[in-house]
């Protein structure tokens, strides 16, 4: 992912100067699923309004219209978005995928009821259209109705239970609501779906630490440790996490001698890695990091 971002930044700089390949830039943004709406809207609209540039896109032009429409909506450029959606409607008059964009146009204006109508009519014919169901979740969230968003997500997950993006989104909303146990459950599902994903182990550990208590700290430490392993020993949050858990376990109520003995090794190793990394990459902060770890 790191090299991808560097490449995108490089292309973006060229495109900003007017010498870059806009089509390639837009394609890379799509591939990496980045949200850089003002650049995409600006350069995308310029490209689409230029008929020879548009022709060079070939069949990709429709994907670009969709991408630029969404970016324009994100920047509140409703006229530009309408232009793109109009072109798509002409080409695909009965498409539910374009219907979604029409609904999103209403959403961007805050016309929630009209958006609801658009989605309701699509759902009548296609009651399990995942894209439209996701819009209902997004609308609830956009209106600040977090519990409504939770309901919609739970309904969606009954239909699409392996959709890890939704489990992650649900976890994020639970966390915003400070419903930590429910967020933890979501991460358990995420780890089932993708057991080798270090970020899911990390997220689960962070939630358990937040809930607190000796047993949760011990479990958190295990998941921080597996996150370290799965990330090739590189994830700084996991390295720090193991140390924080060790310190927490040493101070926790209800601990016994056995707990303390088991506690010692992993975090010493982690602390050494952290100190070494700081000496190499952030020498000005090295003594600060070291003194925190000693404490």
């Amino acid at each position: 992912m790191g090299e991808g971002i560097t490449e995108v930044d490089r292309l973006e700089a060229l495109v900003d100067e007017g010498v870059g390949d806009v089509a390639r830039y837009l394609a890379l943004i799509r591939k990496l699923k980045l949200r850089r709406s003002s650049k995409v809207a600006k350069h995308g609209m310029e490209l689409l309004r230029n008929s020879s540039a548009r022709a060079k896109l070939g069949a990709d032009v429709w994907t670009v219209y969709e991408q630029v429409a969404i970016a324009a909506l994100d920047c509140q450029c409703l006229t530009a978005a309408k232009e793109c959606i109009g072109a798509l409607l002409k080409k695909f008059p009965d498409s539910t995928r374009v219907g979604r964009l029409e609904g999103m146009w209403f959403e961007a204006r805050g016309s929630w009821q009209q958006a609801e109508k658009v989605y309701a009519s699509i759902l009548e014919e296609h009651p399990t259209d995942a894209r439209i169901l996701k819009r209902k979740i997004a609308m609830a969230k956009a209106q600040g109705n977090l519990m409504g968003a939770v309901d919609e997500m739970n309904k969606y997950l009954e239909l699409f239970m392996a959709d890890h993006e939704c489990w992650k989104e649900l976890a994020d909303v639970y966390l915003a609501l400070q419903m930590y146990k429910q967020a933890a459950f979501c991460y358990e599902e995420l780890i089932l779906v993708q057991p080798a994903n270090a970020l899911f182990h990390l997220g689960y550990a962070e939630i358990l630490y937040t809930i607190g208590g000796l047993e949760n700290l011990k479990t958190a430490k295990k998941y921080y440790a597996s996150a370290i392993e799965l990330s090739g020993g590189k994830n700084m949050r996991a390295l720090y996490g193991v140390c924080l858990c060790a310190a927490g376990i040493n101070q926790a109520k209800g601990r016994n001698v056995k707990d303390e003995k088991e506690n010692s090794t992993v975090h010493t190793l982690a602390a050494d890695v952290i100190k070494r990394e700081y000496r190499l990459k952030a020498p000005k902060k090295a003594s600060l990091a070291a003194s925190i770890l000693e404490a």
Partner: protein
């Protein structure tokens, strides 16, 4: 108790919020108390001022988790108490995810509560987008934050008038406006960025060059 915010702190926290427009952000306020009887303990001591001298941008996106928050607070307190005399954590700032959300939610309240255990005049600044729109005309008052302080029942309330927030330097809004035109917000580093790449410094040393 009066509250004053330096240009450095004010511009930095605004840029942090602007860098992550579609996410909630938060950070720590660092400063000192001057005037009055001392130590930030006496609510009736209206001669005293809490000066917010600097801030440390913390996180963007996911703000509700404890471990990295604890780590950050420890590092910030350690750094400022040993490198900058008399400076300590005096509060926090928070910007909600949605542009039309003006509520102080549970997470900034909890962080504020934690800080208040060590500094009873702790404040929470909540960024308000309505006020950001009027940035160009703001002049002396801070453009876009509501100040919350703790009342006697340990709740957080916004109290215009007696607990107003004042800009220490009158040029702050102009400088911020110029920086926005330049896109300087892209240069802000928060604690999340540091954890992703420790060579990035959460003290933001070159930000105002």
């Amino acid at each position: 108790m009066k509250y004053q915010i330096s240009q450095t702190a004010y511009v930095k926290l605004a840029l942090h919020a602007l860098k992550h427009r579609s996410a909630a952000v938060n950070g720590i306020l660092v400063g000192r108390v001057s005037g009055g009887g001392g130590g930030g303990g006496a609510e009736e001591d209206s001669a005293a001022t809490v000066s917010i001298v600097d801030c440390v941008p913390l996180f963007h996106g996911q703000l509700g988790l404890l471990p990295m928050l604890e780590l950050a607070l420890t590092q910030i307190e350690e750094y400022f108490s040993s490198h900058q005399e008399g400076l300590s954590i005096v509060g926090c700032y928070h910007a909600n995810e949605r542009f039309d959300d003006y509520d102080l939610s549970g997470i900034p309240r909890k962080i504020g509560d934690h800080i208040a255990r060590y500094f009873s005049s702790a404040c929470v600044l909540l960024l308000d987008n309505r006020l950001l729109e009027s940035l160009a005309k703001a002049g002396k008052k801070p453009a876009f934050s509501q100040l919350f302080t703790r009342d006697s029942s340990r709740g957080w309330r916004s109290a215009p008038g007696s607990s107003d927030l004042v800009l220490a330097e009158s040029t702050a809004n102009e400088i911020l406006y110029d920086y926005i035109l330049e896109g300087r917000e892209q240069s802000v580093t928060d604690f999340d960025d540091h954890l992703d790449d420790i060579s990035k410094d959460w003290l933001n040393p070159g930000l105002f060059d």
